[in-house]
Amino acid sequence: MQKLLLLGDEAIAQGALDAGISGIYAYPGTPSTEITEFVQSSKFAHDNHIHSSWSTNEKTAMESALGMSYAGKRTMVCMKHVGLNVAADPFINSAITGANGGIMVVSADDPSMHSSQNEQDSRFYGKIALVPILEPGHQQEAYDMVHYGFDFSEKYKVPVLMRITTRLAHSRSGVTRTAAIRKQNELKMPSDLRQFVLLPNLAKKRYKNLLKDHTAFISESDVSPFNKYIDGADKSKGIIVCGIAYNYLMENYADRHVPHPVLKIGQYPLPRTLIEKMADECTEILVIEDGYPIVEELLKGYLGRGLKVRGRLDGTLPRDGELNPNLVAVALGKPDTYGLPVPELVVGRPPSLCSGCPHIDSYYALSETLSNLSYGRVFSDIGCYTLGALKPYEAINSCVDMGASITMAKGAADAGLVPAVAVIGDSTFTHSGMTGLLDAVNDKSPITVMILDNGTTAMTGGQDSQAFGKIEDICKGLGVEESHIRILKPLKKYHDENVAIMKEELAYQGVSVIIPRRECIVAIDKRIRDKFRNK
């Protein structure tokens, strides 16, 4: 079969389509977005009525998938690593309910924080939930693992977590569609209709069942095609290498032959027998893993006595950030390579708001409104508008997690910082801002919430916003007084008018909502180009 040139994300999506999913659920988040987009643009998915529209947040996505699994069908849920925090409640409980139709949860980690606020490692979530984890090392493996994962999920009736990193998600390589394309499952109720009822008495039984299966998961890991023990003559060192880090190891051996025993990990829980074999054979173990030193910590133990384990914890590799071939070379005791130094004149070119972006006008108006007050009252959120923290705007003072702008403004106002302002985007508002707004309304908090409505989920590339056309009604429904819901057109020519409205609402001792509404400039451009192309 001809090779397809696919991103890691796209290989996963193609794998899911070929494995017979009936639906994919997700909220956009770099670097996971392209998985769902691939399904959305697939003719096969469209012809076969595979659900692929965006969910409001990762929690609703995870729960919808659980419902699809309940009904007997295969489903995939995709998110970036911090999205798994949002979906953690249903995710961890889904391990207790177990699956009916196969479920795979894909979480894309971002070591080095290329476009994230932390570099948490999703493998910890797999460990908490006691579910199997698959970690592909390359695009072909990502494709193959999806089939394997759905089989595993249906065999043990358990959700399977796939952990990828930015580098795999956004790297392209040739992929062969090896597996037979499967039909979707028929609608089929769970054989025990109390399986999904997690009342304590029932949950206790389900949990015992999961613990028993977990022992089986370890045995499965020992014989998994994705955990390979490759022997080597030099036993002074054994190397355990996880997921994509395997590529960096191999890059350091031109003939692709490592003199030491190598255990390549692609499936968790860790394969106990294989690890014991390495510990018995080798004097020390080097652990190479992208993300947190989770395997290393496990092998080393708290006191680090006994088995000699090297890796990120003892400085053999850096404690944080993405790995690369050079870091691994140094860890192997090989010479490092380096080209020419970066000339001193090279300055940073940080990302910035696009020329013509509506957020620019919103920020200039807001900053002028606040200019006679002490600086530091604007709590913001996750999206393009977070760039308003940078020069020349310096208009916002926080960015923590989806929805935190409104609740942090409320908390600060509770503490006496009045007026306090929240700045949140339309899609982020429906993702996780609505509940916080209800808190503020119920407490009559003196805050002004600016919902920057550009009609799209801009930061991740312009996906549909679930908030579209609904924001005023949501605010009214949550109890914001209609006279304090103000809609602005963020344009230079309305600057003075907009400042006047902001001043009025800032003076109001209750919850007010200001909605600067103008379409994202990139979205307009794309819309016009699409229109032109279809003519």
């Binding site: 090779k3 476009s115 994509i244 690369n324 070379a329 080209g339 090279v346 990302p351 590339g461």
Partner: protein, 193 residues
């Protein structure tokens, strides 16, 4: 044959298109390919880079090691310097000379050019002007690709085919324009090596 290429530019300048064209040409010759790109934040006028690796042997790492790139292909002069630590001793810098100035502290262009001149193997080309002559300044990235084409280790016709494939939905006129841009870039490189 193995080529490790760093593609550099500013978000929106078309480095992903270059990668796609080289990628298509490579796959058409049964070569292996890995291409790692940056998405997300960097699209908003920030610096972007992509690691492109093509080889007749299977490729291990998605990332090119420091000091081992055969080429830095840049659509913007300042950006060509940012990735010099990746360049091997024999490697080439092929860069546009037309600056993309979207930052308040953009360095003096003459000083940038002086730094480019210091790289032992380099080709500096006003790709925007040449693209304009070829029919559209939008094809500056293709001019750069043309300038790199003598070093790619693949038949020129394969790159032409890849351009025809990439722009197939845009009509013959756009294909013609891009083929002209490619040739103009190649001619420039051949005359300035």
């Amino acid at each position: 044959m193995k080529k490790d290429i760093i593609l550099a530019g500013v978000g929106g300048q078309g480095i992903i298109s270059i990668a796609a064209i080289i990628g298509y040409a490579a796959l058409g010759q049964d070569m292996y390919l890995k291409q790692s790109e940056v998405h997300g934040m960097s699209q908003r006028g920030g610096d972007v880079m992509s690691n492109l690796r093509i080889s007749h042997q299977e490729i291990a790492s998605d990332l090119i090691p420091f000091g081992q790139a055969d080429m830095i292909l840049s659509i913007e002069p300042l950006e060509s310097l940012r990735y010099l630590p990746y360049l091997s001793g024999e490697g080439w810098v092929i860069t546009n000379t037309k600056p993309f100035n979207n930052i308040p502290n953009y360095p003096d262009l003459e000083k940038i050019m002086a730094e480019i001149e210091k790289v032992p193997h380099h080709i500096a080309i006003d790709a925007d002007a040449i693209a304009k002559e070829a029919g559209s300044s939008k094809a500056a990235n293709i001019v750069i690709l043309g300038a790199a084409s003598p070093f790619l280790g693949m038949a020129y016709e394969k790159i032409e085919d890849a351009i025809r494939f990439t722009f197939r939905k845009k009509g013959d006129k756009v294909i013609e324009l891009n083929l002209n841009a490619l040739k103009a870039g190649r001619d420039f490189a051949n005359n300035h090596m």
